[in-house]
C-alpha cells in the first residue's frame, strides 16, 4: 500500500488482502500490529490498527456514505466520532434528548403525558427527504444498504402560493386540472410537461472519465480538427474543470463533430444499401491555416426502399437514423470527404462491406432544443410559461433555492423536473419522496455498517486532538487522539474536526422543530413537504422549507406530528423568517428553535489530502448532499461515481 498518496482503483485488490477487522487481537490477525506509529519523527501508540488508507471524521450522513463507498472499493477505513451516537449534526433524537439539546427543562412525566413515550421519538436535527429516483437512493440501492432498513413514502408534496398551499401538479393531466395553474397557462404547461417527460438527455460521458482519459480524448479531437490547439489542452481542462460538458459542447459547436462519438457498424451484403447521402458542411468559414482538415461529412439524408419497397439493410438494422454520419467504410475514414467520394467507396468496395455510422453531435430530430446552449429563462419563454408557473416549476419541482438558475443552462433544471416526475409514485407513494423508518439517522448507520462489513472500523466517543500534517509536503498524514495516532493517506470529515483555516463559514440555517397535535391543514396523510418560494414570502430571498412527519414513519407516537421548518438565515431575527411556515402549521404544541452555522471547505482537498464535507443546507431534500458526496468522491478518485452499476457484489 505504499507509493502514491492518493488511493487508486488498483489498490483495491491489494487492500482486500490486508483487510483486518480484528487486527488488535494479534492471535487472529496473522500479522502483528506495529507497536508504534511513526509520524513526522514522533512515535505514538497505535490508534486502532494504526495504519489506514482513509480516516473519516464524524459519522454524519455524507461521511458515512463516503466511508462505505471507500470500503467497498477495498480501502482500509477508520471512522472516528466524538459523540456516543451516530449521525453527527444529522442525528435523530428521542424526546428527552430533543429537550436537552435545545436547553429546555425536561419533565419526563409532564412531557410524556402530553406527547407520549420519549423513546418513541426519532426527531431529525436536520430534516431531509429522499427523492425516490434521486442519487442518494441510487447509492443506497447500488450498495445494498436498502437491505438494512425500511422505507416509506411521504404522503404529499405541496407548494405555497399567495398564502395558500397547493398540491404540485405532476402529470400533463394534473397540469390541466390543478387550481394552481391559470386557465391561460394550462395548455403551455401541458406541452412543457410532455417535453420534460420525453426529453432524452444525450449521454454525458465527460464527467465519468478520469482527468487522464478526458485529456486523451481532447488531444485526439484537436489533433484531428485543429492541431494548433493541442498545446492549450491542459489550460482548457483546468479552466473547465467543473464544467467539462460546457467545454465539450463548445468544441462540438465549433468543429461540428462529437467529441465522444457513439458509433454503430452495419454490415451490407450484395444489393443496394438503401440510403440517400448528402455532403454536409460541419465547419464554415475557417481558413485552412486556422482550422483542421475536416470541413465536410457525409450523412444519411433519407432511406430508400428497393423496387418492392422493402427497407434496405441499413434501415432494417434499426440502429441508424436520418442525420447520422457515415464515418468509416470498411474501417477507412470518410470524414472530410464528399458524397461523391463516399458513393464511390461504397461502389468499389467488396461485399459484404462494413459501414460505420456516427451519431451527430447535435441531433435535431431527437432534441428539439439544445439545452446546454440556452438558459432556462429562454426555454420558459419558448413554452410561454408565466412567472407563477415558472416559480413552482423551478422552486418546488426542480428544487432550485433561488432564481439564479434562470440564467444558467436549461438542461440541469429540465432534468431535475424529469427526476421529480419519475420519482412520484416510483414505489407507489403519492409524492416523489421517501423516508427511512425510525429517522434519518438510519442512513448514516446503514452506510457505516456497509463500511464495517467491508472491513472498516468505527470508533465512537473519541475526539480527535490533531490532524497531523507533514510540514514538508503540506499533506495530512494521520490523526492523533490523546497519545495514540493512526496514519492515513487521506482524511475526510466534517469541518469541525479540522483547523479553522481549512474551511469558511457560508452562512447560517435556522431550523425549528415543532410538535403538532394535528396534521398540517389542507394536506393529506400524516407526512408532507411544503416548499415556500421566497417570491411569496415577506422580505425573503431564499425559500423556506417545511417537512412534516408522522407515526407511520416511526418517528413519533400516534396523535403527534413532527413538523420542521428551515431556511437560510438572512436577518437578525432568524426565527421570524419562518413565520409563514408557522402559520401553516396551526397550533404548535411545542417548538424547538436552533440556528446553526454552515461551513464549506476552502479548496477541494487534493493538495492537503484533507477532504472536508460541506455542512448540510436548509433544503429539505438530499440533492445538494448527494452532489457534495460526488464532488468529494471525484476529488479523491479523479473520476465520477458511477451510480448506474452495482457497487457491491450482489447477494441473494
Amino acid at each position: 500500500m505504499e507509493g502514491e498518496a492518493a488511493p487508486s482503483a488498483d489498490q483495491a485488490a491489494n487492500a482486500m488482502a490486508n483487510l483486518n477487522v480484528d487486527a488488535g487481537e494479534q492471535e487472529q490477525a496473522g500479522e502483528p500490529t506495529p507497536p508504534k506509529v511513526e509520524l513526522n519523527g514522533t512515535s505514538y501508540k497505535p490508534l486502532a490498527d494504526g495504519d489506514y488508507d482513509a480516516i473519516v471524521l464524524s459519522t454524519g450522513l455524507k461521511e458515512c456514505v463516503l466511508a462505505g463507498l471507500l470500503s467497498v472499493r477495498g480501502m482500509r477505513v477508520l471512522q472516528i466520532d466524538r459523540n456516543a451516537y451516530y449521525g453527527g449534526h444529522c442525528a435523530s433524537l428521542n424526546l428527552k434528548e430533543l429537550y436537552e439539546k435545545h436547553n429546555k427543562p425536561f419533565d419526563q412525566n409532564a412531557a410524556e403525558q402530553r406527547f407520549g413515550r420519549s423513546r418513541d421519538y426519532c426527531v431529525d436535527m436536520v430534516p431531509k427527504l429522499l427523492m425516490a429516483n434521486g442519487k442518494l437512493v441510487k447509492m443506497l440501492i447500488q450498495t445494498d444498504v436498502t437491505r438494512y432498513m425500511d422505507f416509506n413514502g411521504i404522503a404529499g408534496s405541496y407548494v405555497f402560493n399567495s398564502g395558500k398551499v397547493y398540491k404540485l401538479p405532476v402529470t400533463p393531466t394534473e397540469a390541466l386540472t390543478s387550481s394552481l395553474v391559470s386557465l391561460f397557462q394550462k395548455n403551455a404547461l401541458r406541452k412543457f410537461a410532455e417535453f420534460v417527460r420525453t426529453y432524452k438527455c444525450p449521454k454525458r460521458v465527460a464527467d465519468t472519465l478520469s482527468k487522464e482519459e478526458f485529456r486523451a480524448a481532447l488531444v485526439q479531437y484537436f489533433e484531428t480538427h485543429n492541431p494548433t490547439k493541442v498545446s492549450e489542452v491542459d489550460a482548457l481542462i483546468e479552466r473547465f474543470d467543473t464544467k467539462r460538458e460546457t467545454l465539450v459542447g463548445a468544441m462540438e459547436k465549433k468543429y461540428g463533430l462529437p467529441v465522444f462519438p457513439e458509433s454503430t457498424d452495419v454490415e451490407v451484403g450484395p444489393g443496394p444499401v438503401g440510403i440517400v447521402v448528402k455532403t454536409r458542411t460541419v465547419k464554415k468559414g475557417v481558413a485552412p491555416e486556422q482550422g483542421g482538415p475536416i470541413k465536410t461529412v457525409v450523412s444519411v439524408e433519407a432511406f430508400q426502399g428497393d423496387a418492392n419497397n422493402q427497407a434496405g439493410p441499413v434501415q432494417a438494422s434499426n440502429r441508424v437514423a436520418v442525420g447520422d454520419i457515415l464515418s468509416h467504410i470498411n474501417g477507412t475514414s470518410m470524414l472530410g470527404k464528399t458524397d461523391e467520394d463516399v458513393k464511390e467507396a461504397i461502389r468499389s468496395a467488396a461485399r459484404p462491406l462494413k459501414i460505420t455510422f456516427m451519431k451527430p453531435a447535435f441531433d435535431p430530430s431527437t432534441q428539439k432544443y439544445d439545452l446546454l446552449n440556452m438558459t432556462m429563462r429562454e426555454l420558459y419563454a419558448k413554452f410561454g410559461l408565466d412567472e407563477t408557473t415558472q416559480n413552482f416549476l423551478g422552486h418546488a419541482m426542480a428544487l432550485q433555492t433561488d432564481d439564479s438558475y434562470l440564467d444558467k443552462p436549461a438542461e440541469p433544471t429540465v432534468l431535475a423536473c424529469q427526476l421529480y416526475g419519475r420519482s412520484v409514485g416510483r414505489y407507489g407513494q403519492d409524492s416523489p419522496y421517501l423516508y427511512p423508518n425510525y429517522g434519518l439517522s438510519s442512513l448514516p448507520e446503514g452506510f457505516s455498517r456497509l463500511s464495517a462489513i467491508y472491513g472498516g472500523t468505527v470508533m465512537l466517543r473519541h475526539d480527535v486532538d490533531e490532524i497531523i500534517m507533514d510540514p514538508s509536503t503540506g499533506e495530512a498524514v494521520g490523526v492523533r487522539v490523546g497519545d495514540c495516532a493512526a496514519k492515513a493517506k487521506i482524511i475526510i470529515g466534517d469541518a469541525s474536526y479540522f483547523p479553522p483555516q481549512m474551511s469558511r463559514k457560508t452562512g447560517s440555517v435556522v431550523r425549528s422543530v415543532c410538535l403538532l397535535k394535528k396534521p398540517i391543514k389542507s394536506t393529506v396523510g400524516d407526512s408532507c413537504q411544503v416548499i415556500l418560494p421566497a417570491k411569496h414570502l415577506l422580505n425573503k430571498k431564499q425559500d423556506v422549507y417545511l417537512s412534516e412527519l408522522g407515526a407511520s414513519l416511526h418517528v413519533c407516537p400516534r396523535g403527534v406530528n413532527v413538523a420542521i421548518a428551515s431556511t437560510t438565515v438572512e436577518t437578525n431575527e432568524p426565527v421570524a423568517e419562518l413565520r409563514q411556515a408557522f402559520d401553516l402549521m396551526g397550533d404548535i404544541a411545542e417548538r424547538f428553535d436552533s440556528v446553526t452555522d454552515t461551513f464549506a471547505p476552502v479548496d477541494d482537498g487534493t493538495k492537503t489530502k484533507c477532504f472536508i464535507v460541506s455542512s448540510l443546507d436548509a433544503t429539505s431534500h438530499f440533492m445538494s448532499a448527494a452532489e457534495d458526496i460526488e464532488r468529494i468522491y471525484r476529488a479523491i478518485f479523479g473520476k465520477q461515481l458511477n451510480l448506474d452499476e452495482k457497487l457491491v457484489e450482489s447477494q441473494q
Partner: protein, 194 residues
C-alpha cells in the same frame, strides 16, 4: 408441520474473537474454518429452522466488527426478536463482556427480545476458565437460554437455534406491511412529469 413461516431478526453480540461468526457459519453452512476471516461482505445470513408446528426463518446479523469499540448502531438492535450473546469459555474476560452485552441489550433492545448465551469453544475443555454451573445459574435467574457450544465440532449449535425458535412468539408481525422494498427493478420511463 404447519406451513406458516415466521421471520425473525437475530443479532449476535459478544467480545471480539469469541467465535460469533464461526457459530453462524456452522449453523448456516455447516462449515468451520480454524482461522475464520472476520465477516466481510455479508449483510446478513439466513437459515430456516423447521419446528413441529411452524417454520422460523432467521435473518442473522453479525456485528461486522462494530463491537470492537462498542460502536454498534441502534439499527443493529432495532426489530431484533432474538439475540445470541457469545463468550469464549476458555476466556473469563469474555464472559464478563457477555454480561455487559446483556445489560446493553436490555437497555437498547426490545424488552421482549429472546436472549440466549452461548459458551463457545467447549471442544477445548482442558483450557476452561468459566464453570458451566456458574453461567447456568446466571441464565436461570435471568430467564436466558444457555448452551455450551462448539462451532468446531458443531456440538449444540443447531440445538441452540432450535431452542430460540421454540421460544419465539408465533404471532403475526405488525407494521411490516407498511414498509416497502426499495429496489431498482421498476421501469423508469413510464412515469409522467411536469
Amino acid at each position: 408441520m404447519s406451513g406458516k413461516t415466521h421471520h425473525s431478526k437475530l443479532v449476535l453480540l459478544g467480545d471480539t474473537a469469541v467465535g460469533k461468526s464461526c457459530l453462524v457459519v456452522r449453523f448456516v453452512r455447516d462449515e468451520f474454518f480454524e482461522f475464520q476471516e472476520p465477516t466481510i461482505g455479508a449483510a446478513f445470513l439466513t437459515q430456516t429452522v423447521t419446528l413441529d408446528d411452524a417454520t422460523v426463518k432467521f435473518e442473522i446479523w453479525d456485528t461486522a466488527g462494530q463491537e470492537r469499540y462498542r460502536s454498534l448502531a441502534p439499527m443493529y438492535y432495532r426489530g431484533a426478536s432474538a439475540a445470541v450473546v457469545v463468550y469464549d469459555m476458555t476466556n473469563r474476560e469474555s464472559y464478563d463482556g457477555a454480561k455487559s452485552w446483556i445489560t446493553e441489550l436490555q437497555r437498547r433492545g426490545d424488552p421482549n427480545v429472546i436472549l440466549a448465551l452461548a459458551g463457545n469453544k467447549v471442544d477445548n475443555e482442558e483450557q476452561r476458565q468459566v464453570p458451566k454451573e456458574e453461567v447456568q445459574e446466571y441464565a436461570n435467574e435471568n430467564g436466558i437460554v444457555f448452551f455450551e457450544t462448539s462451532a468446531k465440532t458443531a456440538q449444540n449449535v443447531r440445538e441452540l437455534f432450535v431452542e430460540i425458535a421454540n421460544k419465539l412468539p408465533k404471532t403475526e408481525q405488525a407494521d411490516e406491511a407498511s414498509a416497502f422494498p426499495v429496489t431498482d427493478d421498476v421501469s423508469e420511463e413510464k412515469r409522467g412529469c411536469c
